[in-house]
Amino acid sequence: MNFIEVSKNSIPFLIKGLRLTAYIGSISLLLALLIGLIGGIFNKNSKVFIIRTISKIYVTVVRGTPFLIQLYIVFFVLPSFGITLNPLQAGILTLAFHNGAYIAEIIRSGIEAIPKEQSDAAISLGMTPFLKMKLIILPQALRVVIPPLAGQIMILIKDTSITSLIGIFELTKVGRELTVASRFNPIVVYTWVSFFYFVICYPLYVLSVKLEKKLRLHFSSL
């Protein structure tokens, strides 16, 4: 079978897989951002012992073990705790939980990068810690962390490929089935698989670079 035929026959299936990738990716991204925002604010440098400890453990464990192991633990080990999830649930949950830790660290570093003087000015106006975070610190912190945040989003999208290993029929799994079950040329199929990931991730990267440059013009922390 030559390149064009294999491509023509595989692309429709790959696009179906891509849809599931996009679906898993978006839901877990939203959850990860939520977890990351909370984890970034209530972070491991907090003055409250409980928050500090939980945060440290969460971040250390997530960053010290591979995503695949976390996925297997959620899917195979949690049932013995009474929590049984289907592959889709396990995939989305692990993606959110895993990337949430990284996003939390990213947001934390953004928050800590904002000069103390901004906090002083906000406090002196009579702002509560909540108002200070919402109006002054977070808006600036989020602008600062756009590049690493975009990078982490790219990582999340790429990590969806690993969920194929617990049977989710996203893009990579579809590709694998095509080469194994239908015996299509793996080089052609996987190149298309990689191409689709590239088409999602690379523009994201370019966009984040442009966005960061644009926002840098507005910025001087004085």
Binding site: I123, L125, G126, L131, S220
Partner: protein
Amino acid sequence: MIEIKKLNKWFGKNHVLKNINLKIKQGEVVVILGPSGSGKSTLLRCINRLETVSSGEVKVGEEIITNPKINIYEARSKIGVVFQHFNLFPHLSVMRNVTIGCTEVLKMPVVEAEKIAKKLLERVGIGEKISAYPSEISGGQKQRVAIARALAMQPQVMMFDEPTSALDPEMIEEVLSVIEDLAKENRTMILVTHEIGFAKKAADRTIFIDNGEIIEEGNPKEFFSNPKTDRAKYFISKVLY
């Protein structure tokens, strides 16, 4: 208006403020002078509890600031602060910098806040820059926005922590004239500054602090021409170089 009793502040082993006792009347303009590291800024920061005191009491108006049970946020909103490095919010326009305290802390409606802001910005001489961002204006303009921002909260007290020390020389005048203007209005003002000329002109009282203690206080003209203590004499000789 402001009463400070037996204020002591330690930073670790460093005794930064030593038994400060101070009373400032309503409408009084007080200038605090002293060498670097004497604790002047720390004293200001203790007044609105940006720093907590190690011991002693601070009272502003009716509120005992040092009492942990009071609504410190409400109390702070009545104390206006202008910082050495302006500390404008870079992600907000000039107008928004001035109105944000009014709308979010004082819960004023936006239209009303913007009216107040516009008047104040015109008063300090930056009426035409209201939609600009802090990165687009000069240091002197930034500081005047900072003054407008503090004034918009209609505070009982205005505190200035070395407001002109970070400015290029040609911009000091424009900011000082705004502050002088305010001083004429029967406002309670505390300034930490090195601007001797301003102190002589606008202050009702000078307080000289060295090494965490109040060494000498009194009428500015007398203080500069006839300092009573040795440390004050030494300081003035260095400053009036």
